[in-house]
Symmetry: C2
Subunit: 242 residues, 2 copies
DNA sequence: ATGTGTGAAGTGCTTCACAGCG
DNA sequence: CGCTGTGAAGCACTTCACACAT
């Protein structure tokens, strides 16, 4: 991630022209770090909790204490997207929730395709948490004739990857999830880009090299496990202090 | 991650006492950042590729170019763990591979338990990449009487979570994978800690609060998707510059 | 001559601390 | 007063650049 994006020196400098609060000053998403974007998603989730509890207003202080976050960071993050707070009062939970959800594009359902109908791909297709809250599986693909036409446990059909481009275009899909073996990942990723996908969630243990404009996030289970393993004080190694 | 670890000011300062290269100077894993640990895992994978190709020696320069990494970072990372390189020559692939694998504890098989036999838990249990290369599924647990006793597609039995502590102790398991619903995650995590697990890979969309000494890594699929969604130039939003 | 190991510089994320608004 | 929004400081990871080992 090279982040050679020109700085928007004046965007955040601007004060509201009229007396009202500015919900949505122009901001370039590409200028927002993935750290901030990730926290945005966390905030939406936390706000949903507060809203369900009937909480109307919350200060960054209380919000931080409640969810084990840093209040300054919350304020800074939120200020990136607009002036949502009221000084001396805090933030209006429901309104903020709606705003942030809209910034993430969660106010309308995003269709997602999954490429690779192995164990993992099928499990993700059937995974409830994937289906709810603004995301829906548009289709599940594979290139194995033995799998095409079959259905997952919850009844999602496995389609021929040859149909990928057509379905992506027809359903307006922007996000693809890659759950194919490592050996197939690079070529599948290229097909995804050719089909018009703009973001990929890659479960294959491969670093994908993609054109600018296409975002990738890698979820590499083996690397996660190995990294965890690294920190485990092994019974054999007595060296590490307790 | 608070990283309040005291600095090991002198550990990296020490020069070799004898004339020979020191493969393994004492280092405290807790003083190694997760960034470095993650890359360590990447390096091992890359080295396996080179070794399979029959490459004997590699310089940080070539290594970096081959796998799209930064040569200075490679040298710095490796220097954290010992002096593996030979000046003017580079690194001996097979030897370095072995050393790094040993540092990650991959030279012996790590047993892993999975808690939560839903779609995802079963898929991970069956996932080949999980099984190979130093990790093995010791057991798959659930608390649903309807699932206990059943088997995954590849034949792994679903066991009662009541057996968790006994099996962890008997098999010497240190790593747990949590694939239960969000509502159950906190209590399951507590059980994991009580059972003696030292590292958790958490797929539940919840921030686990655990005692020091227990590492967590979160894989939150919904947050990944939402973060990706954030960067997608939505057809509705015309504001963003091309 | 070549390439490691490493101090120093660079970069960017996080946290502090406070001016100023409500 | 309380709390936001934000410049400035702090901190951590990355990259540079070079002394020095081979």
């Amino acid at each position: 991630m090279k982040t050679v994006i020109e700085r928007g020196e004046d965007v955040s400098r601007r004060r509201p022209a009229a007396g009202t609060r500015r919900p949505h000053p122009a901001f370039d998403p590409r200028a927002v770090s993935e750290f901030t974007a990730t926290r945005l998603s966390v905030y939406v989730r936390c706000l949903a909790v507060l809203e369900a509890e009937g909480v109307r207003h919350v200060s960054s202080q209380h919000f931080a204490r409640r969810f084990d976050l840093n209040s300054a960071q919350i304020r800074k993050d939120l200020a990136t997207f607009g002036e949502f707070g009221v000084r001396g009062v805090g933030y209006e939970v429901s309104e903020l929730h709606k705003h942030l959800a809209s910034i993430l594009g969660l106010d309308r359902t995003r269709r997602v395709v999954i490429i690779g109908a192995g164990h993992l791909g099928q499990a993700l297709a059937d995974y409830g948490g994937f289906q709810s809250d603004g995301f829906a599986i548009a289709a599940l693909f594979d290139n194995d004739a033995g799998k095409i036409g079959a259905r997952t446990r919850t009844g999602i059909a496995v389609r021929d990857i040859a149909e990928l481009a057509a379905i992506v275009a027809r359903e307006g899909v922007a996000i693809g999830v890659i759950t194919v073996p490592a050996s197939a990942a690079a070529s599948v990723a290229r097909r995804c880009v050719a089909a018009g996908l703009k973001a990929l969630l890659n479960f294959a243990p491969v670093r994908l090299n993609l054109p600018p404009g296409v975002r990738v996030r890698n979820v590499d289970l083996k690397i996660h496990l190995e990294t965890l393993a690294f920190y485990i004080p092994s019974p054999a190694t007595k060296g590490a202090p307790a």
